[in-house]
């Protein structure tokens, strides 16, 4: 009986799906029932990484990609900086333009995002966004779908993306 119970407990434990494990780093141990024993250490996150985590990560994921409903940023967003309208688009996308943070913070998080998840795709002469540039660009309200389609076509025509699939969005059925 006891053996059976132990086996059952083991099977249950094994079938529990992890919903994301915390990133380990050096720092101080987190006083918590889960981490006290494991000795998990967390170093303070840099401010821009924190801005991304609290403003963007919920939707776009810890590593710049998540659900099909939300465009993947990793390995892709950098392409947009290769033409002027694309560079503007990254600020004017609603979740960026309407974000409650300051212009300087938005510039910082965009620069961080581009450098962290999509450095290889950046324009060769990429200049980081500045607060004043963001301040001006975020005034505009764009039609996201139409703008994006125009930009992707222009990038393709200019030979800036390998194919139309590079920035394609999956077909989504909303329910």
């Amino acid at each position: 009986m006891r053996q059976f119970a132990a086996a059952l407990a083991l099977a249950l434990a094994a079938s529990i799906v992890s919903a994301g494990s915390p990133p380990a780093a050096s720092g101080s141990n987190v006083p918590d029932i889960e981490t006290r024993r494991s000795g998990l250490q967390l170093a303070p996150m840099p401010r821009t990484a924190q801005l991304y985590a609290t403003n963007c990560q919920g939707c776009h994921g810890e590593f710049g990609s998540s659900a099909a409903e939300i465009p993947t940023l990793a390995g892709r967003v950098g392409y947009f900086t290769r033409i002027p309208e694309g560079r503007r688009y990254l600020v004017q996308v609603p979740n960026v333009a309407l974000n409650a943070n300051s212009d300087a913070d938005i510039a910082a998080v965009l620069n961080w995002l581009l450098a962290t998840y999509s450095r290889a795709q950046l324009a060769a002469d990429f200049q980081p966004y500045t607060a004043s540039e963001v301040a001006e660009l975020r005034q505009a309200r764009i039609d996201v779908v139409a703008s994006r389609r125009r930009i992707v076509d222009a990038l393709l025509a200019a030979g800036q993306i390998p194919s139309a699939d590079t920035l394609a969005l999956p077909h989504i059925v909303l329910y």
Partner: protein
């Protein structure tokens, strides 16, 4: 009846057990066993046992003053209670009460790829940590341990800072089961 064992002690035990066998039915014995099993396994669910598990500080500590009211009453040992420190901005049923853990989904459900990020003060070190509230999806609402931590919650015209939304979109199934709270990092 001829005793099958020798020795005074064995004989005593034998006559006792034979007597017991005649007085009780086998089924009755099984049901007693079952009762004890259930009783034993439900014991840890009682608040008393939780208090014992929490162990380190069952009695009131001097009031601490954090900027957050939640943190002033939070604890770091029992993820099946609403005042577990990571739940400061959690909304919904605790996965830890539904067969999962504070950051693990119960069997048969899967974590939504999207989450809602909040920040909570750990009452033991006074530092602020970023917490990812991730819904576990794929089975009907768990219904146990409903908690409403409203810290940092914003009206729904800003969807990314509203935690009433079911974040199951993107997961293989839209059905909300419970909410988990994983550590993202240390804010400073």
């Amino acid at each position: 009846m001829k005793p099958i064992c020798s020795g005074r002690f064995d004989g005593l035990i034998e006559s006792l057990s034979r007597g017991a066998a005649q007085l009780t039915s086998r089924r009755g014995f099984l049901s007693q066993c079952g009762l004890w099993l259930v009783a034993a396994s439900s014991l840890p669910l009682l608040p008393v046992a939780r208090r014992a598990q929490a162990g380190e500080r069952p009695v009131a500590k001097p009031a601490r003053k954090f900027a957050s009211e939640f943190a002033n009453h939070a604890q770091t040992n029992d993820p099946t209670r609403c005042n577990y420190w990571r739940y400061c901005a959690s909304d919904g049923y605790l996965c830890a009460c539904c067969g999962g853990g504070p950051h693990t989904c119960p069997p048969g459900t899967s974590p939504s790829p999207t989450s809602w990020i909040g920040s909570c003060i750990n009452p033991d070190d006074g530092r602020t940590y970023l917490i990812a509230y991730r819904d576990c999806c794929g089975q009907d609402s768990c219904g146990r341990c409903a908690c409403l931590g409203q810290e940092g919650d914003m009206p729904s015209y800003r969807p990314q800072v509203n935690n009433d939304i079911v974040w199951c979109f993107g997961a293989s199934s839209m059905v909300y089961h419970c909410s988990s709270a994983g550590l993202v990092g240390l804010a400073e």
